[in-house]
Symmetry: C2
Subunit: 335 residues, 2 copies
Amino acid sequence: MKINIKSVADKAGVSTATISRVLRNYPGVREKTKKRVLKAISELDYEVNAVARSLRQRKTFTIGIIVGNVLSQFYSIIAKSVEDVAHKYGYNMILCNGDDDPEKELRYLKVLKANRVDGIILTPTGKNADYINRLINTDAKIVLLDRLIDGVECDAVLVDNEEGAYKAVKYLIDRGYRRIGIITGYLDRTTGKGRLNGYLRALSEAGIPRDDNLIKIGKFKKRSGIELTRELLQDPNRPEALFVSNLDMTLGAMITIKEMGLKIPDDLGMAVFDDSEWISILDSPLTAVIQPVHSLGSTATEALIKKINGEKIGMNDKPIIITLNTNLVIRNSTK
Amino acid sequence: MKINIKSVADKAGVSTATISRVLRNYPGVREKTKKRVLKAISELDYEVNAVARSLRQRKTFTIGIIVGNVLSQFYSIIAKSVEDVAHKYGYNMILCNGDDDPEKELRYLKVLKANRVDGIILTPTGKNADYINRLINTDAKIVLLDRLIDGVECDAVLVDNEEGAYKAVKYLIDRGYRRIGIITGYLDRTTGKGRLNGYLRALSEAGIPRDDNLIKIGKFKKRSGIELTRELLQDPNRPEALFVSNLDMTLGAMITIKEMGLKIPDDLGMAVFDDSEWISILDSPLTAVIQPVHSLGSTATEALIKKINGEKIGMNDKPIIITLNTNLVIRNSTK
DNA sequence: ATGAAAGCGCTAACAT
DNA sequence: ATGTTAGCGCTTTCAT
């Protein structure tokens, strides 16, 4: 037997309108009636049908989030912080694993639209600009996280990648290193490009000429870290220090370094982007740029919910881009 | 201007029923009509309203999953594997972070019910047995993951915790250790209890008497790992080897061990439950019990979808409990 | 304070 | 092959 608002109404001897009022704590229901209704609800184990409610109210109280890959620590922290804030405001979260694949991203954007989520937080691949622009034009509420998209004007929450990388590389330079290698990811991404730029700025400020042999571009994945580190370190004229620009690549780098039998900091100085507790218990804990990952997620979600509620978050209709700062923790990975 | 199935119908000059048929690839629509409809759909950028469809079909093509804590590697792998399989069958996933908190668990169970998800995968806290039984009785499709609940009969997918722990501890014994400490979590959980039992079985088979000073029970969290390891190792009569029964506690244990300046394996032998790539690049990579985490998630999801489709997965209406095996990887954490 | 009834956008049974 | 229509379960306007 299916129970719905009608069953409750019948049982309580009132109309469905009254049940609805009680359900939403609407004023104007006599205390006595309310009691009777609540009794019926509990006796029938009635739970409102959110699907029907969403249809009627044109509001789902659900936000969608598309992340690159839940398996990486960065995104799982994002997922958690988004969910925390969403929940605080009574929203549910549909988590989608975009896998950094533009096709999956597009598919999920469509799924989220079909499900009429109230808003979307997107860690964009950088593609699908057309579709995303169309969404924005049809009044979809979107906040970008961690990266921007060429050709799309949209509110976003980012990290100051350049400054973070700059601080780390400058630290290496201050410690006396001159030949510093960098391993970074996709340059068509805000993150990859920014981190490279920070590296270059630190070098140039110190009057160290750019050496393209020391610059390796990969995919922000462990595999890239393994391979690029090998390329860099097998060179007879290898760098004295390494800056690795995300955690997954750092894992890869450490695998190669261990395999080659190199010791940090004796054989190689190191600084990395992204922190992890595992990094801090390594034999030589790594100096790292800490991203405010939790704030990234919560800030984006707060902004999204404001947008959903119709509050303006930027000024004069320009999209707002919030940039959060990083911190450098000094550990024992340099001489 | 809102566009719905009616707008498309008007534009294509057919009835909404025909649009619906095209949308769902129903046979019995003339090719020519279909083309016209598709054209109208694309021109209007129409996307079906899944909320309305769900209401009508009484089917949301959504499954809910409640995990302990997405921040831990274990659960994020689970989330990913569940999502992969769900997606393969055309289901979306609502991810809920139960935080191992019975109240949050209950709240989320209600949310999922209200949203009429087609099924639920639950990593249970062990509480809320009454509510969960009521759900099951009202025909909700639920599969438990990783743990069981006292007083609830429900399909489940587990790991052979006892056997895994047994193998690890037996290995330590085979390497010559006799005084072996264990750090484990909640004994009222299938996991905590099973892992302790495996430890005890290995000891008893080897004729080593149980020593309660060597058994530390905590919360499966980093903090417990830190504290319990300290208790164990500060004892003048400290164990020669340590078995830690999950990854978060292992992180904690390593923090304490590093802090105390102890060396593995010289000062202490180690074996742990759960693997991680970080564990394998430690100075002394740890011998570890590998759980088939990915299979856990995918097996549970496959089972859930079968249930949703009305296929029986157990025999004669008994719930089915699938137990997956673990593997022991030997590394360099013992003498 | 409460009820009647329309309608959110879709699907499915039935009719043509 | 296509259309008509009722209705999924709720909310909301308008009556009373």
